[in-house]
Amino acid sequence: MNYEISLMTTMAISVLFALSLNLITGFCGQISLGHAAFLGVGAYLAAMLAKAGVPFLATLPLAMLLAGAVGTVVGLTSLRVRADFLAITTMGVGFLFVGIVRQREWLGGELGIAGITGSNMSKLGFMLFTVLCAILVMALCVYLRRSWMGRVFNGIAEDEDTMRVLGINVPRYKLAAFAIGTALAGLTGALYAYHFQYIGPDSFGFVESITVLSMVVVGGIGSVVGVTVAAALLSALPAWFQFIGDYKLLVYGSLLFLMIRFVPDGMAGLVRRHLFKRRAEGGSK
């Protein structure tokens, strides 16, 4: 039973992480290849605070705040560069984060931080709390999508120049997407630290950024339900098939490539097309 609880917690954390990237990349169209860095910012802050004796519930908003602040600064680059260049820049930010963490003695250096105090909840309690967070963030995403902010994000993702002609302050909206998305990644990072009770620089590297991006792409860029399902399934894969753990970059990288090449709108797109086809057939009968 312990194993299932732990797996469920891991899945919920992955869902949260993927939804946070989906907000930036899926909703607002700003690609990020360094999203794991914000997971790391949240995780490291939570780990340090937990070691200093700050209570669990107090560290979560602080982790969100710091990750969101760093994310907003990184988001500033999205005002200057677009598409491919933004991908490269955010990838650089990811490497920069790992590089810095490795060199800092007070952040545990290469060894990372071990023995992070738990959340004072039972394993089951923590799992329920994490799942609740995931459900709340899902609800937030669904709401956001339907709000005017979601409509503007959608327009920016398709054609930001035309949005400016419609009087939209595109830079502010992009920064808002980065702020919200990275703050949620910070929250996820804090939960990650409390769950695994050990963090190291390798937990937040390029492989993790690619993994989460492949979850978003497999689910269907922008689709809340699709991304949730894909993140839950893909995060459970390494638990079921041990060998995937050793070839993570290969597996998730190939998955990313194959999806973008053959099913660019992901599982959500497949389902949508299937339903549409059935409805069209039903209508013609």
Partner: protein
């Protein structure tokens, strides 16, 4: 924006003051000045390459003039971003139509009509309802004559519908000043005439309009005043009929009577940016 009281002062709505635009070594706009009064329907015309679209871009802020100033209701716009200028009461219907293709025609107009709700990200996040914007969108689609296409996807619509959509979307911003960049291009004569009439009606209802257009027949029919550009310079300004009778305008615009060096530029089509 429309709520902004129209002050009774004699101040023109738009002032273009000695604007010069240079692209590298090329002088695209050379010291051009003109004003647009409230209620005007000004035709900005000239042969291809005269600098009309560049002039419009200097007004909207896409290009920065090297010298000179653009003022809206007396307020200098220099250095302001496009979106700020739009928020001050401008709207632009672009030459190349750019609808959002994954939402319907009506949704496109409603997106623009929600400009009050999208002023800041926070306000946008806290606003859900769209019924008012959809109602406005319905009215505007009716006004430009494509109400029956409201639920269609722009990706499969013909150019005639998209051109009107572009105008409806600009109108949804309730502008004081509407800038139209070749709204009639690509339409057949019947469509062009009906859209030109619509534009004239919109003007009659109080929207000041600057129109760039190659369809001279419609321009002469609906415009109240003309500014003629050639080679980046203003060569004439005034009543349409009298302007078109000026020898300099006939020479530049129609390419006859001014020597053969004008001739080789006439057949060029397409963008005059």
């Amino acid at each position: 924006m429309s709520a902004m009281a129209i002050s009774p002062t004699a101040m023109p709505l738009l002032e273009v003051d000695k604007v010069t635009v240079r692209f590298g070594g090329v002088l695209a706009i050379d010291d051009v000045s003109f004003t647009v009064e409230r209620g005007d329907l000004l035709g900005l015309i000239g042969p291809n390459g005269a600098g009309k679209t560049t002039m419009l871009r200097a007004i909207t802020g896409v290009v920065q003039p090297e010298r000179g100033s653009v003022r809206l209701s007396g307020r200098p716009l220099d250095g302001m971003s496009i979106e700020r200028r739009i928020r001050l009461g401008m709207a632009l219907s672009q030459q190349l139509v750019k609808p959002f293709r994954d939402i319907t025609v009506a949704d496109n107009v409603a997106l623009a009509a929600g400009y009050r709700k999208t002023l800041s990200p926070l306000r946008a996040l806290l606003s859900l309802s769209r019924s008012e914007e959809l109602r406005v969108a319905g009215e505007l689609l009716e006004r430009v004559g494509i109400a029956r296409h409201g639920e269609d996807n722009p990706a499969v619509m013909p150019l005639g519908v998209l051109k009107r959509l572009e105008v409806a979307r600009a109108l949804a911003l309730q502008p004081l000043l509407l800038l139209l960049d070749e709204p009639l291009a690509g339409l057949n004569s019947q469509e062009a005439e009906s859209l030109a009439t619509t534009i004239s009606d919109i003007n009659a209802q109080g929207v000041t309009i600057v129109l760039i257009e190659h369809n001279l027949g419609e321009v002469l029919r609906i415009c109240k005043r003309l500014v003629v550009l050639d080679n980046g310079r203003k060569i004439a300004e005034g009543e349409p009929k009298s302007v078109m009778h000026l020898e300099t305008v006939r020479a530049a615009y129609l390419g006859n009577g001014a020597g053969d060096e004008r001739h080789n530029r006439q057949p060029r089509g397409g963008d005059d940016a």
